[in-house]
Amino acid sequence: MTTTAIPVYTKKDFQTDQEVRWCPGCGDYAILSAVQAVFPELGIPREKIVIVSGIGCSSRFPYYMNTFGFHTIHGRAPAVATGIKIANPELDVWVATGDGDALSIGGNHTIHMLRRNVGIKVLLFNNRIYGLTKGQYSPTSELGKKAKSTPYGSPDRPFNVLSLALGAEATFVARSVDVFQPHLKAVLKRAAAHHGSAFIEILQNCNIFNDGAWESLTEKDARSDHTITLEHSKPLVFGKNREKGIRMNGLDLEVVSLGNGIAEKDLVIHNEHHPSPAFAFLLSRMETQPGFPTPIGVLRAAHELRYEDRMAGQIRDVTARRGHGDLAKLLREGDTWEVK
């Protein structure tokens, strides 16, 4: 543990001199701004933070953060970050990625990082489109999406990003939206404090190739009806006048109107720490049914030992048992004989 005082940072301390090269109006600016605002509050020395990215618009992120940064290759950020974390578990490692980078070319690394519970924070910018390659549909584009490579509509069923992460038993799964700045910052702080893989899907607009990707959620009038903000130990209530709620009905959820004998106590009470990831999985599925809102907030926050700690623990235990390895002894291991 470091005993030296951590410098007092401002947002400016996390900005670089590099010209930001996202399109004007891109949702990435809002995410960058939120991260730069939150990092000074984390109490982590700047040099201990590493931001790793793959390829895509979102993956330019490290260049704009005055921390250690590694812009790697398409899809591989979680694997590079895992190597960094094993090499030095003390580092605070973040991955900035997108729907194509993390779920298409890098899907394998994403699920394996999550199942191992490597202590990496993942910011998945989901704009449901390939931006940097100029507008092909992505693995989160809706079925039938008309894009550059799908003039007759996409025949692909999309991933539900949160369901995928929960299927890999990620220990921290959350969702926020680029333009919901206070909410996004709060979720970022929660992720920063999580002691394992923290996975945040950030719904983000691409005003060039997929403008209005999340309009139905972000329009002022629509927001309260079309999103539900999850809060631990609070009932699932939404609507402009908080007049609707979500209740269990058998093994599924149903939307109910409050009143007429239905009170908040009858609703699902959110539990981030639910022992089964199935609970969060159920929440992650609700938006696929008509009339349901899209959940934002922390779906799951479970405590589990980190991968890098298990690994370091083995090194520590074996070394305690056998002592530090002696190279001369190692070289002479097994049967030896002498030639005079």
Partner: protein, 626 residues
């Protein structure tokens, strides 16, 4: 078929001096074949022979006694000259039961000596080995000199006065067989006596029992005159030192541990299981007390990219694979080139393309190692020549990687990986020491400011205050490392990366051919062909040919003087287990009319094949087309 009763006493017993022999002891897992072979090896080594051994254990499961899966074997090739392989065929086969005989007899050469334990050829023993008619009776062994010996009965007779139970006495029968082999090759038994005294310090009766059994075996040969001939294999010229047997994969594993110690860096291995490289992962995963982190990745790409991440964070980082895995790592190799991070990539080559011959050897990944990346992405390439050399090349690859901040490819192959040879154990002080320097000074820090001597950029690991910076796969401005797409900067960076790798030639030994320093023919080769070529060149030089052998361990960059060495010979022959990859490089680089000798059978060259090619190149033998 020769048996004790059928063999007439021979009054003219001879002792023949030969230069080499191959013995294989085989029996049940419980028959002590590894100990028997180990003792013979020890004695041969102490006697001064060079040798190569091939221990062949059954799988982990403990198979029922006497059955085929329970067979354990130990082969040793020992000689008065240098030994390069455990031997293609066996001169003496000791088979303790029918299962062992069935599993091993195919490797016995015609007229070879076969010693079997006659007491273990009863009906039930044959059934366990799924044999209907005893091979001792069906003439299937007529091509060999067969010696059925009642090993169990004779051992018991020898130990009668010790008062041991039958089980304990029977455990000594492998030493009866060992005693026979000692007689056959005129070996002293004192080192095995010493070993027994030490091993059975607390049970001296067992030491005595094994000694008696061994002496009985020796005396049996002497008294019965079963063998009409015994052999003498004089000592070889081995340099003094302490030796152990080592396989290529083990040598790589401990070589990287040694490298990490000499660089004072923690070791990281990212790897995905693949034949024949997996043993390196297995071995290194056991050495946690040397601060080794082994990460079994989800795929080959994660294996190398995790290593890149670990190198970035300050580890000596490596990844181990074979050809198909190399193909998958290609893009990440380019990232390591662009970010100038030190990783070592071990390619334990096997037959290809695609899945190919996973368990067979080949050397067809050379061009992939040299050029298999998009754009201009030069990478230093080194290759181990023998199993023991894998140790040294692990250290050399690591040294180059961290000194020049560059990914390095180390080529081995299935033959080196699984083959074993005696290896002189170096003193730790003999190992090169190359402590690394991590940048810590934030004043005017620039991530791509190069060391003027090595052209290496600073190694600035995360966690170092004041050194926050960004790197990546995008082209970067010289010195500052900022993203930069300017045409002239790009050309400058491409040339700098190439110059850095090329400059390593100043830091490696000059090429020194073995044999004639000039002459009619130079054989140029790399990797595991070393043994067969060395033997062939020596044999041909004994016949007066003026030839040299240049074995390259650095393939990129090549030693500075390779071009001059090539000019000193009239012809150049390049034996390779591929269709001609090094020969293509030599022809392109040096405009020399080098010719290839190519074998792509998943099997190493035989000495005779190389000799035939030498004679053909020299115009001695008629040109045979096949």
């Amino acid at each position: 078929m020769a048996t004790l009763t059928q063999t007439p006493p021979d009054t003219s017993r001879r002792r023949e001096v030969i230069d080499r022999a191959v013995i294989r002891f085989c029996g049940d897992s419980g028959d002590g074949m590894q100990i028997t072979g180990g003792q013979f090896t020890n004695t041969a080594a102490l006697y001064g022979n060079d040798l190569a051994t091939f221990p062949d254990y059954p799988a982990e499961i403990r198979a029922p006694a006497g059955t085929l899966p329970g067979v354990s074997g130990f082969q040793i090739n020992f000689a008065s000259t240098e030994v390069y392989t455990p031997g293609d065929s066996v001169d003496v086969l000791v088979a303790m039961n029918p299962a062992a005989l069935k599993m091993n007899v195919a490797d016995l050469r015609p007229n070879g000596i076969l010693i079997v334990n006659l007491d273990n050829f009863k009906e039930t023993d044959l059934q366990k080995a799924q044999i209907k008619v005893s091979p001792l009776e069906d003439h299937s062994l007529d091509a060999f000199r067969v010696f059925p010996v009642e090993l169990t009965k004779l051992t018991r007779a020898a130990l009668q006065q010790l008062g041991l139970d039958a089980k304990a006495m029977d455990r000594c029968k492998n030493f009866f067989a060992l005693g026979m082999c000692y007689w056959l090759y005129n070996r002293p038994m004192d080192s095995t006596y010493r070993w027994l005294d030490e091993k059975f310090q607390k049970k001296p009766v067992l030491a005595e029992a094994n000694k008696l059994a061994m002496k009985a075996g020796y005396a049996f040969c002497e008294a019965t005159e079963a063998f009409q001939i015994s052999y003498e294999i004089p000592p070889a010229k081995l340099s003094p030192g302490v030796y152990r047997n080592i396989s290529g994969n083990t040598a790589l594993a401990i070589g990287f541990i040694a490298a990490s110690q000499r660089a004072a860096l923690p070791l990281f291995l990212g790897s995905y299981p693949i034949t024949p490289a997996s043993d390196i992962l297995h071995e290194l995963s056991a050495y946690k007390d040397f601060h080794v982190s082994t990460f079994q990745a989800e795929d080959e790409i994660a294996a190398i990219t995790s290593a890149i991440g670990a190198a970035y964070a300050g580890c000596l980082a490596l990844t181990t694979t074979s050809g198909p895995g190399m193909a998958l790592k290609t893009e990440a190799l380019g990232l390591a080139v662009a970010t100038e991070l030190p990783i070592v990539v071990c390619d334990i080559q096997r037959g290809g393309p695609s899945t190919g011959l996973p368990t067979k050897t080949e050397q067809a990944d050379l061009l992939q190692a040299l050029f298999g990346r998009n754009s201009e992405a030069p990478i230093p390439v080194v290759a181990a020549a023998t199993p023991g050399d894998c140790f040294w090349m692990a250290i050399e690859a690591s040294r180059i990687a961290v000194k020049y901040m560059v990914p390095v490819i180390l080529l081995s192959d299935g033959y080196l990986a699984n083959g074993a040879e005696p290896w002189r154990i170096p003193d730790v002080s003999e190992l090169p020491s190359f402590p690394v320097h991590f940048e810590t000074n934030p004043t005017d820090f620039m991530p791509y400011r190069r060391n003027p001597d090595t052209l290496a950029r600073p190694w600035a690991v995360p966690g170092t205050p004041g050194l926050e910076h960004r790197i990546g796969g995008l082209e970067k401005q010289d010195v500052s490392g900022n993203i930069n797409y300017e045409p002239l900067n790009h050309e400058r960076m491409v040339r700098l990366r190439a110059a850095k790798v090329e400059s390593i030639a100043q830091d490696i030994p000059d090429a020194v051919p073995v044999g004639d320093p000039d002459g009619d023919l130079l054989l140029v080769a790399w990797g595991s062909t070393y043994g067969a070529i060395t033997a062939a060149v020596a044999a041909q030089r004994d016949r007066g040919r003026r030839i040299g052998h240049l074995h390259l361990r650095h393939l990129n960059p090549l030693p500075r003087n390779v071009g001059q060495v090539l000019k000193r010979y009239k012809r150049v022959l390049v034996p390779e287990m591929n269709l001609g990859q090094l020969v293509m490089v030599l022809r392109a680089k040096f405009l020399v009319d080098a010719q290839g000798l190519n074998k792509i059978q998943g099997k190493p060259f035989k000495q005779s094949e190389v000799e035939a090619a030498i004679e053909e190149a020299l115009g001695i033998a008629p040109v045979l087309k096949n």
